[in-house]
Structures are given as C-alpha cells and as structure tokens.
Amino acid sequence: MAQMTMIQAITDAMRNELKNNEDVLVFGEDVGQNGGVFRATEGLQKEFGEERVFDTPLAESGIGGLAIGLGLTGFRPVMEVQFFGFVFEVFDSVAGQMNRLRYRTGGKQHAPITVRSPFGGGVKTPEMHADSLEGLMAQTPGLKVVIPSTPYDAKGLLISAIRDNDPVVYLEHMKLYRSFRGEVPEEEYTIPLGKADIKREGKDLTIVTYGAMVHASLKAAEELEKDGIDVEVIDLMTISPLDIDTIITSVEKTNRAIVVQEAQKQAGIAANVVAEITERAILSLEAPVLRVTAPDTIYPFAAVEDDWLPDHTEIVEKAKTVVNF
C-alpha cells in the first residue's frame, strides 16, 4: 500500500496499463514531455517513449478522430481532453462516432477508447474549465461514464476503463486531484464499471451522489448523525449505466432518498436517478426524492463560485426536509 493523491493514482493506473499492454497509447495536448497540465502523465513519456505517450496538435476534434483511427488499427487509445468544457469541439467524435462504431458495423469494429478529462469546480478556474457536462455523456447510448471520488477508486476504475473494449468517458474532478491522500495498492487491481460503492452505511436516508459531492455528502452525514439521522451514502462511481440494484436496495432499506450533484438542476443525472427510484421503489418511499444541485445558470464567474456550488449545508437542509416530510 502507498499513500497517493487521486492524480498519483491516475498516473499509476496509466503506467500500469502502458506496461501491461503495448497497444495502449496515451496522447493529448501537453501530455508528453510536459507530463500534462496537472502532471497526470508525469514521467510516462520518459518511461515508455514518444511512440507510446505523445503530444498532439491543439485540436480536440482531431484528437478524437486520431483515437478512433488508432483504435481501428489495433491500438487502445487513452486520449486526454485538457478540460471537459472543451468537449464541444470533439462532441462528434465522442458522441457521434466512437460510441456507435460497434453498432453501425453489427459488432465488426469497436472503439476501445478511454477519454480522460478534468472537470469540476472549487478551484477558481477561468471559463469553460469546471463545467459539469457528464449529463450530456450519460444521455449518449454507447458510452460508459465514470467519475471517481477517491484515489483507490480512481486507479481501479481507470484500469477497468482502459481494458474495456467500448468507449469510456473518465472524468476527473479537479478539486479532488490533490485535496487528500488515500491508501492505494501498488499492484494492479480493477473495479467493475457500472458498480456503485456504499461509502457510508446508514438506515434513515439514502444519499445518491458522485464526484466531489461524495465528500460534501459524507460531511453532511456526520452533521446529520449529531441530530440522530443515520445516512447511507452511495457513490455511484459509474454514472452511466447506473447501478440500479445498489440504489434500490438502499432505498428499500431507508425509505428516503436525496440525490446530490454539482451540475445544474436541469443537467447532470440526478433526474434520472429520481426517475429510476420512482419507477422501482415508490411503495418504499416515505417522502419524495429531492435533489441538491447547482442553480440553472451558466457555470459561475470564479469569484462567486463558492456561493453557487452546492455544499454540505444544502445537503443537510434537504436531508432534514425529506426526513421531516
């Protein structure tokens, strides 16, 4: 075991896979000699060479096309989009091409591509860096969407993503990159995609969440405990497909739920979780399933980020509303 930040765990996963399979290629803007703008690919080019870890011209769409073409010729591309707000430049490659390659060829071709990209608020980035756009990806058939919240999860999920033979969008929350360290085994391990993790067991209320909101929810759970409310926190880890079993089993136990996301109310995936619970467990519910989200504005100017982003106090408030319904 080693103590690692999430970004170190991500680097470790890529190193493991570069070593494990010579067809794995890591590329994007500044990922080579520079080691990435967040150091996620630090040292990888030096260790594996320019043929395996390389820089691209500054064009996200081209990077997506490159990944699809390399995938067709037998490689396993791990492409980076420097910030996920830039995904619109490569939207066709991700949501119009790689996601449907297997389908449009009746299974003859596929896209074993991992799209890595940082996102998320709380670090006062300029425009279009922090936006939570995972909802767009989750609405796209043919993609899996993964969002880890701990160093341990980040490594196991990224190895699984890279080994998956279909495209996986792997989103890395910038605020979680170095905010804490966690135990990460040095050897390889995988965490199955599509499986949620119960980060805290409880019996009075289920919080379904992902990304940075996992930590806000755990903090809220501690406060709620003081008021005698025992909260179960589910970290989805994969937001598409949803781990329906884990969510429903928990709700059937606690009879109350809220869904917490950093994205705007009209975005993200919270509405989807609410719908699944309503369809499958309405007879278990003692109260409506409420959502904690950001307001439906454009992502805030950096100086007002703290007022806009959902935090643990909003979660506590909403949890109490549901418990006292």
Partner: protein, 361 residues
C-alpha cells in the same frame, strides 16, 4: 498577403491531365504503366458503376432502395483513385463513395442493405479494411489521420485514403485531419471530389480560394488538382501520392475536378433548381467514359460487344444482389441491443429481456 503572392500560390495548382476530352494523350510523360488488361479492367469498372448508378436510381424510385447518392460522372475520380490502392489499404468513404468500397471487397448486396438501412450492410467482411460510409461530413478526414498513424506505428506498408466533396473542404475536421496527418507524417491520402456543388451551393460560395488543392498549403503537405474526368490522371496522381506516403514523404491532398450528372441524393433534390443546362451540357462533353472509351478503341482494346457484356453482367449482378438483400432477415430490436457493447450494461440487459419477450409473442 499581396495579390501577387496569392497568384503565385494559385499558379502552383494547375489541373493535371493525361487524356483530353477526345481521348488523346496530352501528357505522354505522365502516362502510368498499366497493362492492356488493367486498362480494360478500369473501363469495365467504370461502365459497371454507370449501370449500377442508373439501376440504383430506378430501384430507389421503386422504393426498393433507400438512401442513395448518385455517382454518374464521378467514375474516373472514384475508380481511378481506388485502382491505385493495395488490397490492404484502408478506405474511409463518405456517403457517396460506395463504388470504392464495393470494388475493395464489400459485397454489392451489403451496399444495398446499407442503402435500405439494415445493419447487415455494415457488417464488414473479415480482413476488409474499410469503414462504413460516413454521414458526418469531415469526420472521415480526422479518422483517416488516426488510421494512417496506426498503420505507420504498426509498421504496415499500407496507406489510409479518404474522400470528401467540395463542400466538405469547408469543415473544421477537414483541416484538422490534414494537419494532424502532416504533423505526424502519416501515410494518408485525402481526396476531395470537387463536383462543383454541395447540394445547391456552388463551390464559389464555399471559399474564396481558387482551388481546393491549395488548402494543402495550410497543413504543409503536398496538394494537387487533377482532371477528375480523366481516369488515367486520377490513377497516376493517387499512385504517386501512395508511394510518397509509404516512402515517408507525407500525406497528399488530391482535388479531382468532376461532376455529378444526377441529383445530390434521391431524397427529393432537384438540380434544375440550381444548375443550368448549359453547365450540364459542358460537363456531359467531359464524360469520363466517353473519353476513355475513345482512348481504348484507338488502341484496339475496346468494342461495343465488350461493353454490352459488361452492361449485362452488371444488370445480372444487381438483380442477384437485390435478391440477396431481399432475403436478409428483418432486423429486431434485440439485434440492435446486442451490438451496443461487448458486455451489455444493466439497462440494456433489462431491455433485452423486455424485447425478447415482445419478439417471441
């Protein structure tokens, strides 16, 4: 940039031609080395494709084919360039580029199934290096850069070739694809088939650039404009581009000056709304079949009898392929679910059960 500099750039992109409209060789030095049989095979393919186009239009009107983008007029551009390829080269076609992938090895009935909207049309036979025709104009260009880099990294002696139209040269992906291939010195050939119209918009409205070939300059790669109604010229420049790419001398942009005699697609486009009959007449005189037929006849390599044999063969093949397409089992929702992922995620497993039950009723 001064006008003078612009003119100097444009002067670099004169149209390359070997056969004139009368079928006479006007550039003996550039004549590609092709055997009599190969020359006949080129003509055979062009005639075959012309008949296939006529039949496809008719079958579409009868409702027996679906989406179809006519190709008459572009036979030299499509088949001359394809003839320069190795069987293991990759083709990333646009939606009009069905002849190239059929002559590369896609069975005709699959092309028909693709036209109708049946997944079986896209089930590419093993070992056939093509992609399914690309509907998103420009996407094939960036993907070609990736395939070409992949071939280079795998040490293959093969190239990736892709096709788009004159309108497609306005897309961002067109520039990005050429630029990436240039930056990685990847073995790619980009063909722009300039048939002068993107649906109703004339090429003059796409760009102030006098040629599309000169857009290669922006990527720092070779660019050449060729008479796209001259099959020998198209073959020669493609072959040269392929050799350059494999020699490590970089990608090439080829602009073929061509024309489509029919509408943009069979989905209700009416070219008389935007194209003058004078222009149609002018380009009918340039017909690639007419001039190549004259060339071959002068060499004693072609006859009406030979041509009729091919026409009959094409008609028979088409009939047979249509029968095969008709006999293909209908698609089911469970088929579609099955192709989504290698391992079905939970939502699709549920829906698979749901539709399996529906389909067994």
């Amino acid at each position: 940039m001064s006008t003078k500099t612009l003119e100097q750039v444009e002067d670099q992109f004169e149209t390359f031609q070997i056969l004139n409209e009368e079928g006479e060789v006007v550039n003996e030095a550039a004549m590609p080395e092709l055997s009599d049989e190969e020359l006949q095979e080129l003509m055979r393919r062009m005639v075959y494709t012309r008949i296939w186009d006529q039949r496809a239009i008719s079958l579409n009107r009868q409702g027996r084919l679906g989406f179809y983008a006519p190709v008459a007029g572009q036979e030299a551009s499509m088949l001359g360039s394809h003839f320069a390829l190795d069987k293991e080269d990759w083709i990333l076609p646009g939606y009009r580029d069905i002849p190239q992938i059929v002559f590369h090895g896609l069975p005709l009935h699959q092309a028909f199934l693709w036209s109708r909207g049946h997944f079986a049309g896209g089930v590419i036979p093993d070992g056939l290096n093509i992609m399914v025709p690309q509907i998103i104009i420009g996407a094939q260009i960036i993907q070609t850069a990736g395939v070409a880099l992949g071939l280079k990294r795998k040490g293959k002696e093969n190239i990736a070739i892709t096709y788009t139209g004159d309108g497609g040269a306005s897309q961002g992906d067109f520039y990005e694809g050429m630029n990436f291939a240039g930056a990685y010195n990847a073995p790619a050939v980009f063909v722009v088939q300039n048939n002068r119209f993107a649906i109703s918009v004339p090429v003059e409205k796409q760009s102030a650039a006098k040629t599309i070939a000169q857009k290669a300059v922006a990527a720092g790669i070779e660019g050449i404009q060729v008479d796209g109604m001259d099959v020998l010229a198209v073959y020669a420049v493609t072959k040269q581009a392929r050799e350059r790419a494999l020699a490590g001398d970089g990608p090439t942009l080829i602009e073929t000056m061509t024309y489509r005699y029919g509408p943009h697609t069979m989905a209700g486009d009416d070219p008389t709304r935007y194209r003058s009959s004078d222009l149609d007449d002018e380009w009918t005189k340039k017909d690639p079949l007419v001039r190549f037929r004259k060339f071959l006849e002068n060499k004693g390599l072609w006859s009406e009898e030979k041509e009729n044999e091919i026409v009959d063969q094409a008609k028979d093949d088409i009939k047979e392929a249509m029968k095969k397409a008709d006999g293909t089992p209908k698609q089911k929702v469970t088929d579609l679910i099955g192709f989504m992922f290698e391992d079905l995620p939970v939502n699709l497993r549920e829906q698979m059960e749901e539709y399996t039950a529906k389909e067994s009723k």
